[in-house]
């Protein structure tokens, strides 16, 4: 008897995910209106971003290249999407200062996107033909072949600043420790919790977990982008209140809220 074909149009067990997404959308819309009306929103400074600007400035002074690594995530890793935005800002600063940057990529689709973003940055900086064609290049979609090639660049071309933004896995320590050996200033931002200890130990500054996403929104200083950070904060506050409320209700013998949150 073949599996009964499912024909209903809504999966009730996922109501909580739907509520979560709709709630987040409302927070987003409210904050976009707030941001538009007030012109800007207060977002606490992210020291990692000021360190990033200093690193680019220092590399330019020393006349040495900047190495930007977008991480080993493909597009399914949202850390990669954040890295694309940050790279756009770094490329724009590099174009304005006339220094040089190299972006070795792990994922071919990310390479294609980043090449477009870099060209756009040079175009917006008014120097479209100064974009060195090979600067954004595909290296390898195999984790340690990528590491071998990139550490080779670090040791032989001695970039002054190594920037790690995106999803990194076990190779984070290999890259950061080799970068430390060459004396480069190193700024990292990673959403993979397991790799944060290594970046914290080997880099000069590390954006922890969701600070990477906040940085990608903060970087444009556009009100709408800041609104997404505020929405993230409101959702975090809601999550905290939800947990405490559910625990209190549970203590008073009313587990409904807890059950509603159960996913499986």
């Amino acid at each position: 008897m073949p599996e009964a074909l499912n024909t209903d149009w809504f999966d009730p067990t996922r109501a909580n995910v739907l509520v979560g997404i709709l709630l987040f959308l409302t927070f987003l819309l409210i904050n976009i209106l707030r941001a538009r009306r007030a012109g800007t929103l207060y977002i606490r400074p992210l020291p990692g971003l000021t360190a990033l600007d200093e690193a680019i400035g220092r590399a330019t002074e020393m006349g040495k290249p900047i190495l930007y690594m977008p991480g080993l995530g493909d597009m399914s890793e949202v850390g990669t999407l954040a890295s694309i935005t940050i790279m756009g800002r770094v490329a724009r600063k590099v174009a304005d200062l006339g220094s040089s940057m190299q972006v070795p990529c792990y994922d071919p689709v990310v390479m294609t996107i980043m090449d477009g973003v870099a060209r756009q940055a040079y175009r917006e900086s008014g120097r479209p033909d100064d974009f060195p064609p090979g600067s954004v290049h595909y290296v390898s979609a195999q984790q340690f072949a990528y590491v071998a090639a990139v550490t080779g660049i670090m040791i032989r071309e001695r970039p002054a600043a190594n920037i790690y933004m995106g999803s990194f896995y076990a190779e984070s320590l290999f890259l950061a420790e080799t970068g430390n050996l060459t004396g480069a200033i190193q700024i990292a931002g990673c959403d993979k919790v397991t790799q944060l200890p290594f970046f914290v130990c080997a880099c000069d500054y590390t954006l922890l977990g969701e600070e990477l996403f906040a940085a990608s929104a903060y970087i444009g200083r556009e009100p709408v982008q800041l609104a997404t950070i505020a929405a993230q904060d409101w959702a975090k506050a809601t999550a905290a209140i939800l947990i405490v409320a559910a625990l209190l209700l549970l203590a008073m013998g009313r587990p409904e809220l807890g059950h509603f949150l159960q996913t499986s």
Binding site: W9, F10, R92, V117, A121, A176, C201, E210, F213, A235
Partner: protein, 206 residues
């Protein structure tokens, strides 16, 4: 303005969000078909990537840039392995399978093994009790290291249980908070792109 592509991203992104909530078998078939298309696009992107790799090394060889003989090695290996793999396949018994066993596999695992050396040098250099936070970091790390191996058990039978506690309480709490934060950051980033607030991936670094 790239209105066309932005609308495509909105349509596809919204469709996949909706299909998540619709268990209807036809809806799920559409869902699976869209995902299948993505894997096909990735395969073509890999070809584009390999051309970029080829250009990087060909440029070095053409201009005789320092280290160009090594680039020749990469170019020759790339063509050889791709050609053999496409023509004869990659299953056991093929040339590519043998190359994989004697080149790719040992190189990958040995590169990974170097991390054992780097983790020691990083620990020695970075774990310095300069402030309260750094001290917490290094004390926990050392206790975790000793408690996880047989010698730790020998020193204090309660060591493994203590390392389990470290993982079950403080580590769990911090990791769960980070997971919730990263999860919300990911949802925010995903929605930003689907709603067209974020378009830099289209080459508009606005």
């Amino acid at each position: 303005m790239y209105l066309g592509p932005v609308l495509v991203t909105f349509a596809v992104g919204a469709a996949l969000i909706v299909l998540f909530f619709v268990p209807h078998h036809q809806a799920q078939a559409v869902n699976a078909e869209i995902l299948e298309w993505a894997t096909i696009v990735y395969a073509f992107a890999l070809i584009l990537g390999s051309i970029s790799l080829w250009n990087t090394h060909a440029r070095k060889v053409r201009h005789r840039i320092e280290g160009w003989p090594y680039s020749l090695v990469t170019m020759i290996t790339l063509v050889a392995v791709t050609g053999l793999g496409v023509v004869f396949g990659t299953a056991e018994g093929t040339a590519v399978y043998a190359i994989y066993q004697s080149v790719n596999s040992p190189l990958a695992s040995t590169m990974f093994a170097l991390l054992a050396f780097f983790i020691a040098s990083a620990a020695f250099r970075a774990f310095r009790a300069r402030n309260l936070e750094a001290t917490l970091l290094l004390v926990t790390a050392v206790l975790m290291m000793i408690g996880r191996v047989s010698i730790g058990e020998f020193i204090w039978p309660g060591f493994p249980a203590f390392t389990e506690w470290l993982l079950d309480v403080p580590n769990l709490a911090a990791k769960r908070a980070i997971a919730i934060g990263v999860g919300l950051g990911a949802v925010s980033t995903g929605l930003k792109i689907i709603l067209g607030i974020e378009r830099s991936y289209l080459g508009r670094s606005n």
